[in-house]
Symmetry: D2
Subunit: 260 residues, 4 copies
């Protein structure tokens, strides 16, 4: 079982009638329900409003893949929880970032770039093209699929060059966007997936659900988490692998920690 | 002229007799002096102790390439200045990170990883192998060069997969390390270069100086800086490139800013 | 079950006493036997001397992952079979290339580079360092492992920048080498793994066997093979996805094939 | 001066009236003329019909950057010349591949993939978006530019993941395409640039000309060519860098060449 937590900001579901009607159980609820149709995935949800945003140390330690959707309240996510998520990614937890999560603290921390783009909310047609055939994330998908109504995101999208560009979107209004991008940060697999504006029924779409299921499998790292993931251990001269005699001036006394 | 600023933490030069003897003008001073032998480079220095660590908005705006050496005092660099440096990298300033700068705030912010490694201070032999022949950063270098006394850094080095691995080190005690790594963050070219422990005369070495000169040229982006580098501009439907009629429910009023 | 074929050149096993003693069933036999300990892998062998080198169209179509070891007889592999293997990789078959297969026709065809390196046959110590912790290919391995006797391969190794550098070797004589490199060519996952000189018992080593098992799992693409993998289909204007009226001069008559 | 050779297949210019009218001096002539407006570029031409296709060993040795346009006659390029070009790329010559050169022998040899795509000749609008701001290849360009009439190329485009994706095209008929891709093969910089169907005046476009000029500068490697670019030199035990005593069984006699 791949233990998956779908994190939702859960703001517009509470404040916007359109969003509430499309997603009566929240966007996170809709996504989790769809994932649970996969017998190998066990999906639960967490939201901004819960203590520690539902992402305690214990819960993250027991999570294989975290899915993140946020938009209006990126600033309300505590730095402590954002940094905790990042640390768990480094140690091997998978992370999927959806749509407006391009500006989530966790994504910006992991990318090291501005993560900005251009946008337009006009319900236009989006067509997602597969650029890496048979990539595990697009298994079972045709060469392209369409979302009749979506928000536009346009290039330039300021992110690091990915490991692989898996999907590129065509927009009716004339823009393109790299919509499926894979990264690795420490031992953690990271996937950014563009679609999912809250006023459209995107997460009810069968192809979108397929991408998410595939991506959960892809992001899952079955190895045990890396421990002491930020440590910089000293391997002293008397424990060197090859025989070694220390030479030259030293800054550190024996057994002393390095600087951080 | 490539305007280059060599930033030095300038702590051990003041507190450690060995370091002071090897680098009477500071490590930053030694590096800047060497770079100034290149008629196309104009190198100056900045240090932690200066107001704003010598890296004011105005100075960074006038800097083509910044070189960063820090070790004992990473925590004393203000978050404000670190974030300012990062923003200038995004807009096109080149950045070279030396040795223990693997733990500098600016590097960790740009990488999005823990940037940790193993280490040993034993003055052992390091041999740097070129893995990307004729890369601009290794122009004029043989297939390998040696530093008779260096601190060991060992893999795993927790950084994102680079654009290119340019140099890999062999250490006498049995370790290896990816010692020359290129990245791009926004419009900025970033290069991590491993050697440079302060108790050894590494920055007096001709091959090391050659790498640094080459890297300054490589990192220099002659295009004008990107403006509004963190903006996410709205391209409204009435200004769409292709004719478009808005459809569906909207979250944003016309002209409203996006969420950040 | 992952259907795996271990291809062996099978020359030195027949002509060199040392090799025959270490690998009485051939290197391919030793590797296949080890893989068959994994209940999810079904490994068989094929050799140069069989008709079509044991790699008929039908057999490759039924192979999930092909492993390739060759050294003395690269030139005896027919171009037809080499190109057939390459085409199956493009359509989704995984391919692992071992040691001296860096000069195999199939590897050179897939890389597009010279694939050369430096070498020394002195039975020296090799230590392989993991550079991408928890990568599926190194699951269960420590941060490094050693082979007491191996042939040296040294950088520069003329291959394209990989998707990920997973292992780097340290050699007793002073060299380093990127020993575990991942690539994707079409829909096929490709892994180059350095160790395996025929006069040493490398494929009896538990860590090496672990890497090979892991790599078979990693390279296996469970999606159906891509069909017509070299086709460049015309999507004529009357079948365009968005409404389109043809304009301008035309080179091709309707329904005509493109140039190849 | 960057010595640049523009290679043109020069078939449709001779046989198709439309093409001849748009490019009275050939497409190669048009491109070379535009490049020669740059005082740092010295561009000449070569064509299929010349002896050795105009690409003798001596000429390639004296060429910094080669530009390649071919379409109808890929098969008429001799294997010998194609392999010669590839070898010069490995040793440091830059190579730009234009439009239908995606199926040129030289491109397929360097990529190791099928290089196929979908296409439509309908004179539709193409809009090229910059995905890597301030990349040297797009210096001076706006975030996008348009070609009112172009042939469509659509994803999936079967090429290896590039070093950087610099441009992505939007097509009126609904497709997208990665239109500017950088690679490195050996010491040679390689750039694929999509536009340039022969029945439209693409190479008269100012933005296209700007990309080509920028790309020539980017591809130019000022270092001396790598010699013996396919050699795999033996570094014998008595010349090892670190002291070494040979152990174990040997396959090769001292001084013997390796297998190829």
């Amino acid at each position: 079982m791949i233990k998956t937590v779908v994190w939702g900001e859960n703001v517009h579901e509470q404040t916007n009638k359109t969003v509430a009607e499309i997603y009566p159980n929240g966007m996170h609820g809709c996504i989790a329900e769809s994932l649970n149709n996969d017998p190998e995935i066990q999906a639960t949800t967490a939201t901004l409003q819960e203590p520690e945003h539902g992402l305690s140390e214990a819960r993250l330690a027991d999570t294989d893949v975290l899915i993140w959707w946020g938009h209006a309240a990126h600033g309300d996510v505590s730095d402590e929880v954002a940094e905790r998520v990042v640390r768990h990614v480094w140690s091997g937890m998978g992370l999927l970032l959806l749509h407006s999560a391009h500006f989530a603290k966790v994504f910006k921390l992991l990318m090291g770039t501005a993560c900005n783009l251009t946008w337009r909310e006009a319900g236009e047609r989006e067509r997602l093209w597969v650029t890496s055939r048979n990539h595990p994330i697009v298994h079972g998908l045709p060469d392209y699929f369409e979302l009749e109504n979506e928000e536009m995101y346009g290039e330039p999208f300021s992110v690091p060059e990915p490991l692989e560009t898996v999907l590129i979107s065509w927009f009716q209004g004339g823009e393109v966007f790299r919509s499926g991008l894979t990264y690795k940060r420490g031992a953690g697999n990271v996937f950014y997936f563009r679609p999912g504006h809250e006023t459209y029924p995107t997460y009810h779409d069968a192809n979108v659900q397929r991408v998410l299921k595939n991506a959960v499998h892809w992001a899952h790292n079955s190895a045990a988490r890396v421990q002491q993931v930020t440590d910089a251990p000293n391997r002293p001269v008397e424990q060197s692998i090859e025989p070694l005699i220390a030479r030259g001036a030293k800054l550190h006394e024996a057994g002393e920690d390095g600087f951080k």
